[in-house]
């Protein structure tokens, strides 16, 4: 019989404890952000999709060595370049990222020895069309230059 009442009272007390915890939270300020109106600042190391780094002239540092293409586990990078007359280095003419299969592992950025690739800070990627994620990074670089 003693156990009966002890159980009842310890049980009731544990319930009140729990209610006190939630009540204390009730008047506090919410910890969430009202997303479309406010958003968090991304960390500099955040891995968005990759983008090309422009040098002072706004051109890419890429010399079309294709290391990133080879390092990519999902084969989502395709690039092409030409060697203009009289120049030593190749110049990038096409850099397509197929973001649909990219897993943001960073292998490409790591493999680049010419400081040509970095992660962007873009996280708001949403679309109803697949084609939007086949990105032309050269075009993106041009847009950034403007």
């Amino acid at each position: 019989m003693g156990g009966y009442f002890t159980e009842l009272f310890t049980g009731a007390k544990s319930l009140l404890d729990g209610m006190w915890v939630t009540l204390k939270e009730f008047p506090r300020r919410p910890v969430t952000l009202n997303y479309p109106h406010e958003s968090v600042k991304m960390y500099p190391r955040f891995r968005g999709h990759i983008e090309l780094i422009g040098n002072q002239e706004g051109k890419s540092n890429c010399i079309v060595c294709s290391m990133c293409q080879r390092a990519c586990p999902s084969g989502c990078i395709s690039l092409a370049g030409v060697k203009p007359e009289g120049e030593k280095k190749k110049v990038l003419t096409k850099y397509i990222l197929d973001f649909t299969t990219c897993s943001l592992c960073g292998s490409c950025v790591e493999s680049c020895n010419f400081n040509a690739l970095r992660f962007s800070n873009e996280y708001n990627l949403a679309s109803t069309r697949k084609e939007d994620f086949i990105m032309d990074l050269l075009k993106r670089l041009e847009e950034q230059n403007q």
Partner: protein, 372 residues
């Protein structure tokens, strides 16, 4: 307490729990033969998100396979990174600098806490309490922020490299982690009041979902499931890897073998992880995070290699068979929940459906890791 009852096979019906069911946390399916609300028999059906990670290993080079590790167990991706890095380092005989080892331990343990927090929230949600989930996610968010600042991703980390790490931690991370430890100690007390002590929860968990030691041995259950049944087994202790022997921590073991014991094991583990992180931050040496000497091309010598780590859910083992080439000849991933879940079929017989789902939650399932 449910009394054991004799179930009648001729008056049963089949209840299809899953693949879309709130309690299965993903796409697990359990075909339950029920006698009223009692389970007569259960058969788990897997494979709804099977992706054949093991075949992928045969088609990718060793560094290229690293991102796959984050996709196995999305909640403790860091531990899986660690396991894979360990086995390749073992095969290629790569030395890991001490600073890298310490950072590995810190990040893995932070990730373990984050994983346990998701489990806690989701488990109490299984039991019908919504609010702890939000508190857990609030705390977890802080861990994710810390890890994001270092690794660049929030969930599917690809942070470890063979012999080292992707990048170094900074002072912000250290101060942030210390602040988090202080904050989280308080939160743990709050959880103890809100959830652990709650009489409804205790009534639902104590004495339900019994798993004994023999069952663990027969099914190969590891992690909190084994530790909740009185088996003092933690890979970090039993088979020390990385710099874990440097730290003073306890392996929580409870002998009851019920859902509540498994619950307590995980709650206690979070505290122990905090201790490990604290010690690791104190001892953190300076130095490089990547080895000076590292083979340019990872080509392990032929033979087979094994490495095991303790993830948040138990013993994750990798068996790697190499033929000396750039790709693995065979990569076997031994995931902990695969074995842990297997005992559900046997253990849930005769249970009420409500208890069985509480039991399933206490196994802490992550379906992508089971299905691989």
């Amino acid at each position: 307490m449910t009394e054991p009852i004799t179930l009648q096979q001729d008056e049963t019906f089949v209840l299809n729990v899953g693949p879309q069911h709130p309690a299965t946390h993903g796409v697990l399916r359990v075909k339950m033969t029920m006698d009223g609300e009692y389970i007569y028999n259960a058969e788990t059906v897997l494979g709804y998100i099977h992706r054949m990670h093991e075949k992928m290993a045969e088609n990718r080079t060793y560094p290229q396979y690293m991102p796959n590790m984050g996709r196995l167990d999305y909640l403790s991706a860091m531990s899986f990174n660690h396991g894979y890095a360990l086995v390749v380092e073992r095969a290629c005989n790569i030395e890991v600098p001490e600073r890298a080892e310490y950072i590995r331990v810190i990040t893995v343990e932070l990730n373990r806490i984050a994983s346990h927090l998701v489990w806690l929230g989701a488990y109490v949600l299984d039991l019908g309490g919504f609010t702890p989930l939000m508190y857990c996610f609030d705390d977890r968010e802080q861990i994710l922020d810390l890890l994001e600042a270092v690794t660049g991703s929030r969930l599917t980390y690809c942070y470890f490299r063979f012999g080292g790490l992707y990048n170094d931690i900074d002072d912000d991370f250290i101060t942030g982690t210390r602040a988090f430890i202080t904050h989280f100690r308080k939160e743990l007390k709050m959880y103890a009041k809100l959830v652990t002590g709650n009489v409804i929860l205790m009534k639902r968990l104590k004495g339900h979902g019994p798993v004994d030691q023999n069952m663990c041995q027969r099914y190969g259950a590891t992690g909190p499931v084994a530790r909740g049944s009185g088996i003092n087994y933690d890979v970090r202790r039993n088979e020390p890897y990385s710099v874990y022997p440097d730290f003073d921590f306890e392996v929580p073991v409870f002998t009851e073998g019920d859902s509540y014991a498994r619950y307590l094991v995980r709650m206690e583990e979070m505290e122990q992880s905090l201790r490990i992180i604290e010690q690791a931050l104190d001892k953190l040496p300076d130095g490089p995070i990547n080895p000076k000497k590292k083979p340019k091309l990872i080509k392990p010598p032929p033979g087979d290699y094994f490495a095991a780590v303790e993830t948040a859910r138990g013993n994750f083992g990798i068996r790697m068979v190499s033929d000396g080439g750039k790709n693995a000849y065979r990569m076997k991933l031994r995931s902990p929940t695969y074995s842990n879940m297997h005992l559900f079929d046997e253990a849930c017989r005769g249970m009420l459906i409500a208890d069985a789902l509480a039991f399933m939650g206490s196994l802490d399932l992550v379906i992508p890791e089971m299905d691989r």
